[in-house]
Amino acid sequence: MKKLVEIKDVSKIYNPGENEVRALSHVNLTIGEGEFVAIIGQSGSGKSTLMNMLGCLDTPTSGKYFLHGQDVSHMSDDEQSDIRNREIGFIFQGFNLIPSLTALENVELPLIYRGVSKKERLRLANAALNSVGLEKRKTHKPSEMSGGQQQRVAIARAIAQAPPILLADEPTGNLDTHSTKEIIRIIKRLYHEGRTVIIITHDPGIAKQAKRIITISDGMIQSDIKNPEYKDEI
């Protein structure tokens, strides 16, 4: 299995000095291509910091982060933007759709920033929305859709440009049971289609859907196990 994510001795310290907060402490982590990983931890455990690091939204205070073999730990803002655009599809707890744009326009956004032509952009965005079952909602604005539908739009946006990593931060945190099942089903299917999926959650019920479970607390990795309860069916 090829290494996709390689974190070496990464620490993140906020407010360096007397009142410093050590959000991550000497973390080492490797995730291979095509893995399905859940990172579980309570709030304040450092999982959000880890997720920001993995998503190239943040840089470590010390240590190194290699993504696809490339050192991304000390990049400029614009370089990080390019890496996010190319390598990472985000799925957020709050969906994070732009309210003034339609479903289709939201899905088009990362493709615009990548400089994809209008025609190709529409093709990819339509295909992504079709794959999450939203053929009929393309011209709807977020406010005209249910939470589950909004999260499906967000997933379509994350996969439209086929990034190698899907990074899902509490993807079902704002959803009811029915929608949660639906979203988990879609995420599992995406894993089966060959994508690397990383879910960050505090919910053991969600974490046990993944093939590998990493537990984090106090900014350190406490356990990293193969999930014995993993079921391969969708």
């Binding site: 803002d77 614009d78 933007s81 655009n85 957020f92 920033y113 400089g115």
Partner: protein, 404 residues
């Protein structure tokens, strides 16, 4: 990058989504631009009206002379006549041969200043014939010893005002010649001034330059270095354009830059300068309202950035670069002021049209002015958009995503 069009599109979408607020933001720009436009157009109209009134005042003069540092040439009689007939749209030209001497009539002798010229000199300001006539072309051609004198001179030399037909003796250059008075003209302030010195009084008279030269032994073909052109004020620009070429041609002075033409700092130029100053001062005051409008744009854009912090965070997480966000917000500000500028121009044109019609000024629109104003209003958007757009672009994506 074809993505620029996308930023414009998303800027437009955001303006549409906040119609009311966008309009209020534009209002400042609309008022500023329409104030500037109105002032400038009314200023132009005022100038055009004043100028056309001054054009209708009538005769004006242009002085033409040869630069004696560049050429030794002088105008001959023949060349003077040739120049006069070659320049169109003028009343005529007149060289000036001045002679200082004395005049003797029935009632006494006085110092006299005789201006020798051509009949066009009758167009000089202040020349009004009250008895007899001005000298004509035949008097010049035949070098007749005739004089046009002022009422004062007539009174002093003859004792009465209507002395047409009488003769005087003019002495100058040690030569004495007899001249016949053919016309009496109204006094000018100059006549009054010169005649008020009692025994030292001096009188003024005019006659054909040819006879003046012949009578007092001046070489007419070797002394004239300049002349005055008389024309209608309306034709001034056209004549000015033509004069140099004609004179250079006839005098064989092409390319030597030896012809000096002076239209004088006339009254109209001074008036125009004053009107221009008034217009610019008022325009500057109007421009201040434009500045206030620009600050309004900055204000609203800053609020908009704060409100859309989360959107900016989302865009950044999806791969938007600093420059993409900057462009999007700058485009939004520029579009607001561009559209505001267009509306302001339409409004300003309407207002200035109505005012010009009511006041009676001529209404003309300079297309360059409209283009410049559109450019300026867009530039205002870009300038005042920089601060909020920079704020948006520099947001930390993690912080931005965390805001509600």
């Amino acid at each position: 990058m074809g993505t620029f069009g996308e930023y414009i599109k998303s800027a437009l979408a955001s303006i549409r989504n906040n119609k009311g607020r966008s309009f209020l933001t534009m209002l400042g720009i609309i008022i500023g631009i329409s104030a500037v436009i109105t002032v400038l157009i009314i200023g132009d109209g005022m100038k055009a009206t004043v100028n056309s009134e001054m054009d209708s005042i009538g005769a004006t003069t242009i002085s033409v002379s040869l630069d004696d540092t560049k050429t030794d040439k002088t105008f001959t009689r023949e060349q003077i006549d040739q120049i006069e007939s070659s320049i169109s749209r003028i009343f005529g030209i007149s060289p000036t041969v001045n002679v200082f001497g004395s005049v003797k009539g029935r009632k006494g002798s006085y110092d006299v200043y005789v201006s020798g010229g051509k009949p066009a000199a009758e167009n000089s300001s202040g020349v009004t014939i009250v008895h007899g006539r001005y000298y004509g072309d035949s008097d010049v051609d035949d070098a007749k010893n005739v004089l046009v004198i002022s009422q004062t001179m007539s009174n002093l030399v003859f004792g009465y005002e209507e002395a047409v037909g009488n003769t005087v003796e003019l002495t100058a250059n040690d030569l004495t010649q007899e001249f016949t008075v053919i016309g009496i003209r109204e006094d000018t302030p100059m006549d009054m001034a010169y005649s008020s010195f009692g025994d030292e009084a001096m009188v003024l008279a005019e006659g054909p330059y040819t006879s003046v030269c012949e009578s007092f032994n001046f070489d007419v073909d070797n002394m004239i270095t300049g002349f005055t052109m008389y024309l209608d004020n309306e034709d001034k620009q056209a004549v000015l354009a033509q004069t140099r070429a004609v004179v250079e041609n006839i005098m064989g002075l092409r390319g030597e830059n030896a012809v000096k033409i002076s239209s004088g700092a006339g009254f109209d130029q001074t008036t125009n300068a004053i009107l221009d100053i008034i217009t610019s001062v008022v325009a500057i005051i109007a421009a201040i309202s434009l500045l206030v409008g620009g600050i309004g744009v900055m204000n609203i854009m800053t609020v908009s950035v704060t409100e859309r912090t989360r959107e900016i965070g989302i865009r950044k997480s999806l791969g938007a670069r600093t420059s993409s966000i900057l462009t999007q917000f700058l485009a939004e500000a520029a579009i607001l002021t561009f559209v505001g500028g267009i509306i302001g121009i339409i409004f300003g044109l309407t207002v200035s049209f109505i005012i010009c019609k009511v006041v009676g000024f001529s209404f003309t629109v300079n297309p360059a002015l409209v283009a410049i104003v559109v450019a300026i209003s867009t530039a205002i958007g870009l300038f005042f958009g920089i601060y909020p757009a920079k704020r948006a672009a520099d947001l930390d994506p993690i912080e931005a995503l965390r805001t509600e």
